[in-house]
Assembly symmetry: C2
Homo-oligomer: 450 residues x 2
Amino acid sequence: MEFKISKDLIKELEQLIQQKDDQQLEVLLNDMHHADIAEILDELDFDEATYIFKVLDSEKTAEILLELEDDLRENILSRLSPKEIAEELDELDTDDAADIIAELSQSKKEEVISELEDVEHAKDIVDLLRYDEDTAGGLMGKELVKVNENWNVLTCIKEMRTQAENVSRVHSIYVVDDENRLKGRLSLKDLLTTSSKTQISDIYIKKVTSVKVDTEDVEVARIMQKYDLEAIPVTDEMGRLVGRITIDDIVDVIKDEADKDYQMAAGISQDVEADDSILELTKARLPWLVLALLGGFISVKMLGLFEGAMQKHGELFFFTPLIAAMAGNVGVQSSAIIVQGLANNTLSGSLFNRLIKEISLSLLNGIILATILFLGSYFLLNADLRIGLTVTISLISVIIIASLIGTFIPLLLDKFGIDPALATGPFITTSNDICGILIYFSIAKLILGF
Amino acid sequence: MEFKISKDLIKELEQLIQQKDDQQLEVLLNDMHHADIAEILDELDFDEATYIFKVLDSEKTAEILLELEDDLRENILSRLSPKEIAEELDELDTDDAADIIAELSQSKKEEVISELEDVEHAKDIVDLLRYDEDTAGGLMGKELVKVNENWNVLTCIKEMRTQAENVSRVHSIYVVDDENRLKGRLSLKDLLTTSSKTQISDIYIKKVTSVKVDTEDVEVARIMQKYDLEAIPVTDEMGRLVGRITIDDIVDVIKDEADKDYQMAAGISQDVEADDSILELTKARLPWLVLALLGGFISVKMLGLFEGAMQKHGELFFFTPLIAAMAGNVGVQSSAIIVQGLANNTLSGSLFNRLIKEISLSLLNGIILATILFLGSYFLLNADLRIGLTVTISLISVIIIASLIGTFIPLLLDKFGIDPALATGPFITTSNDICGILIYFSIAKLILGF
């Protein structure tokens, strides 16, 4: 049932390209889904991919263009004339066309737009270009089916047939007034089950959830998820219906958002992929590493303060990486849970309750781990009993402090409107390393008195 | 436009509950969306929430039940009789009803099923219960619109009206043969724009992507995302149409999958939320911490091997947390990029190319960081020049090794069919801590010769 790329297929295609056997290529690819062809092109080199791209007709290639990986799309677009690009865009929905135009240089952008054949389509695309890509305006498309509240079911169905010609998928039927202001929506079911003379104003659903053009994309995603919507209408400042957003675009937003939190937690500050350039990857990774390094300087300085202990209790220094690592791990766990809770809107209860809970939780974890550490240090590592006691007490303290830091720093950042995900990963591990070492040696000093 | 819970609203509701003013409660809540009411109930205590739940009618409460947080739903269900639960389920789509039944105890399950009024509905629900929840069968619902290939457009529209009565949203119209085998789908557009005598077999689209009942949920998600589908039909072993999966259920799968990778990277091994019980949170967090602790034992042992260096070069030990932290951070970054690449299917190119790239990348990062470290150790930390040189060379080596471990362990796990996300978080940081310390002291021994 499902399509799978095989090495044989790739080889066959490469041969056909070398032989310039366009006809056979078409036969082979014409029946395939555009998403499958895109997957194949991503496996070929740029020249081969472009060759195939030019063999296929624009109805197919337009859809393929959307599915390609960024660098291949960029490469192919750079080899197409403005007229050729315009032909692709004429086949696409306005939102997809606008996304592709937005990737072009300013001068090429204008040339491509002037080459678009369908003037209405061109107007819609240009209109979409002015919205920020992270807003509802940047996500929406212009293709929708709308009916006037003053029509009856018969006119409505007739009008819908015309409109549906330009709309690849009918998600919802929106109802507007004479001024194009969004009034509600029409259920397809009601339309199918009502007599043809019924007035639309009698059967339409007055409640419809919509967003404004400047609503942020993550907010749109939240609303569509909460209300289980497959499409949402977008209105302008005056409540006029200007577009619709479909769930497939929102799936990308949801996925990107979850991926972003994960990347932040791993100390990667921009949206990068394994196949990006070394420079881009360095730009995303280096800042956090520098931060961690500077934190490391502090830990070196701090350990230097306890140099006096080295003579009598050198063993203490063997345990620093262990204590620091535990502090880091606990902090990352706590912060991840809070960041996800904030992202998914599932945090409830007061700050005080959270404090009590976090302390109980880390006390429970801490006591179990400290017991293992105490037994381990005595039997496995043959440490001095007083040293064992020191590291054990330190571990419990460090775990409690680290989990509090991990819990409350993201909450604090969120309160001040800063992305709490910033406080996961290197930032949390570094500050917990430092705190952990300080607590450890302070307790050691108290117990061992050096 | 958008609903926001206010403290005033909560207070007002609590007062009305105390006064047992059911009428006013209904007035206040009846116009609200069920997702909003669920959000309100989550803010109240269990008794208050149950009170409101019983005031509202089952058409509304059934939908609310789906949106509640797990513990509140469990609590409310435990206070409802089998007959009351059955009334709720009669209002729900089969897949949602099956999900709720699956949460009940075995004995209650049977009682509830026997109380269901609509026999067809009950049969469908029971049928769904036998599928594993992580498969297409566990995700699918029975509500769909299907037509026979031998009908004409008129019969089809008439039949669809009847079927649509039981289907809250018409996603796709599926075409089957006399044996109920899935043959294709019908575009609503074609149906709207074709004359009523046309035979369905003449206009239906023969290509339709479907999944089998036992296809894994993440695979269903991948297919629906790849082909931009809003609903996908599910067939049994004999190709018969048995259900459909809609994109809103898949959004949850996609989000859960991304969240899971993030949680794994943070050392949380089960799907937990901040509001789960301390015991559940401990179960998810403790195993990774124990692993990290055992890794810590190894680092203690290893540092003990280099005790001889303490006399002459005690400073070396001040740098261990810094080296270990850098190794951990680099490893987490590398592994996160690979795990996301594997999850999103965006990794291409050979292993050898990836090796070259990862080495170049870490060499670039390493040299920049090592320069900062060298200057910092000399000017800020006043370290001995030979110590400075030692830590600098160690840092570059450690960064290269850590990034290789971070890159290739997930790839290796994936090759053996193990979830690569296991290799992020505590596992990677711990093994990189150990390697980092070993490399550091080995280089120190070479340079300083203790």
